[in-house]
Symmetry: D3
Subunit: 140 residues, 6 copies
């Protein structure tokens, strides 16, 4: 049976800053530059979620895309869209809001939820902070 | 010798519907929603074909891109472009026309044809049904 | 007061064919080529709707984007998405489904509806049938 | 002599919220929805600046693109990138930070500066808040 | 009768340099910077050609897109693609190869040819040298 | 500790030709077609560099993106941008300037430099010659 990978793209718009509370403002500015601006900045994030599994004979689907999209929106997009990543998101509390950390946390939320959708597993999280900067995570 | 991956993007425009002939219309509508519309809908599909091999000393190529493009067009694009995937395509007869199934069938056609092009092998088929929905298949 | 133009992009996926019922099949094939395929083909259409008006002091908006998007979806996208443009769309009945005709008909539907949204007017319809082929209409 | 239009695209990442200080929180939430989130959200903005003029015989340029880019960056991008549009930008103080208002204010800053670059004039400001929402302003 | 604008995108890959032969090398380097590199550099150019006219009752077309594409390819793309704009293109001989000049010359070639295609006229040439730098010309 | 992949996109514009000096002009034209044009052609190249590592607790970064971008620009982009790949680039001397060879040579330059940036390693080089033609190399 063929193993096929299915990718769904979603997006969210959020404010954040890169700031380590154990450091002085000077140290934060030195390491993070304008990303440490105390009044925040923001991004249009693109999120690509890839699941893998075998196409079912009756549907040709490895998973119903609408169900996958609904799970991503309910568990991730609704928590992040039009939010401040540092202040408004319980699962990021006390964490740096770098793209790397964000991708790992999104994996941690979606991996069990994808398995509840049927015989498929989460394979990859790809998160674009800008068109030029992105992060990929395979749960390893 | 380095192993390099080369990707060529092609595209085709086609009509299709998602419809299981063993099910009632109601069941099809319940599972596939508007994708089951009996009068069809359609897409601009983007197809990315990746082959792998070692660059040849005399050309710097792992395969001649023009030859690769010609094979993809002759065996895949000419069969799918401006067609109805459910009615007009012999290699999809009796199959669901989901993106998953389509990607697997395109692999099955291109894998032997790529090997005839020289010392390279097919590595990956990536098929975008829309900008937000895509499928990847590695022949496994 | 400044006159500002606001554009919202929506999209729909549809099947269609180019076919003049007053002509023979041969004549249709000669003029429209593969676009006349009797079993249909299809596209992912991108629709860009531009309205113009003066930003309101209290909101900074010329029109509420959410209200504009709702109108476009209700009057246009819901009628065209996952449909057959030749068979399923009352406002295209008896018309050629070229991108040109489609853009003009979308204008005719949206122009009065935009005026109901407040002190703004429809300025432009831009419709992409593919990334390489598009049509623009200003209601003139 | 031909009149040619030259466009340069720049971008900036910023936080903002839509909030009318004369209104209650409830009224703001009712009108602006999630865009009124008190903790801000943000965007990757794309800015396209178009100038017009006649190509100079000695260079073929209507204006030196590097000089144009430098002016846009110095007067606009450096003021907006990695900032909070409501808190950090003198020329937006006391104004709504809608895309409409932002485009008009950018025009007001760039129009005189472009004329200092030589025999060309500012023609158009096009500002994308997201890929799907954009605003155009011609200074009229 | 509605006036509709139809746009076709084509592309070509070419080498060029910006160099005024009446100037010293130093002066060229001072004005054109790295674009004056004596060994050339190059671009993937995107060309968008817009024609205007009234949709014909029998076809819904203002002009046959295939015929338009053929004219653009024969008169423009075939002359520029995989060429050196300064050395290989008769219609650019003795001219600066700035994007501005290139757009004007393409207009001059296509304007009469478009009129031969039927009751339509050339409306606009839009030429992208890079994703961030483009030029528009309306023949005025 | 999670293993995360970070990608940075840069670009350069260059001239080149595909030409084997051990072959006659006829043989070069037969194999490389218009890519062998003796007066060169050119491209806007997009380069995507992927590094892998574990996010650092204090920053959330696997590597400082600004430092990574600086290394790519200093060692690769500055050597290739607005250059002739066959004539101006020491590390390509005597080599075919195919996308395959170019990607391998960029890997060879960046692999040791990335390791100097901290506890991360180069994972992948992805090089687009055009939107439709690209090459990927993993250093194997």
């Amino acid at each position: 049976m063929p193993l096929v990978y299915l990718t769904r793209k979603e997006h969210f718009n959020a404010a954040h800053k890169l700031f380590n509370p154990n450091w002085s403002e000077e140290q934060n500015a030195a390491v993070f530059g304008p990303c440490a601006n105390k009044n925040w900045h923001g991004h249009n994030y693109d999120l690509r979620v890839t699941v893998k599994g075998e196409p079912q004979a009756e549907t040709g689907f490895i998973v119903d895309l609408k169900a996958l999209s609904t799970v991503i929106r309910r568990l991730v997009i609704d928590k992040l869209d039009h939010k401040n990543l540092n202040l408004d998101v319980p699962f990021l509390e006390g964490k740096m809001t770098s793209t790397e950390v964000l991708a790992v946390e999104i994996w941690n939320i979606l991996a069990p939820a994808v398995q509840d959708l049927g015989p498929c597993r989460l394979h990859k999280i790809e998160l674009f902070e800008t068109e030029r900067n992105s992060v990929t995570y395979y749960g390893e």
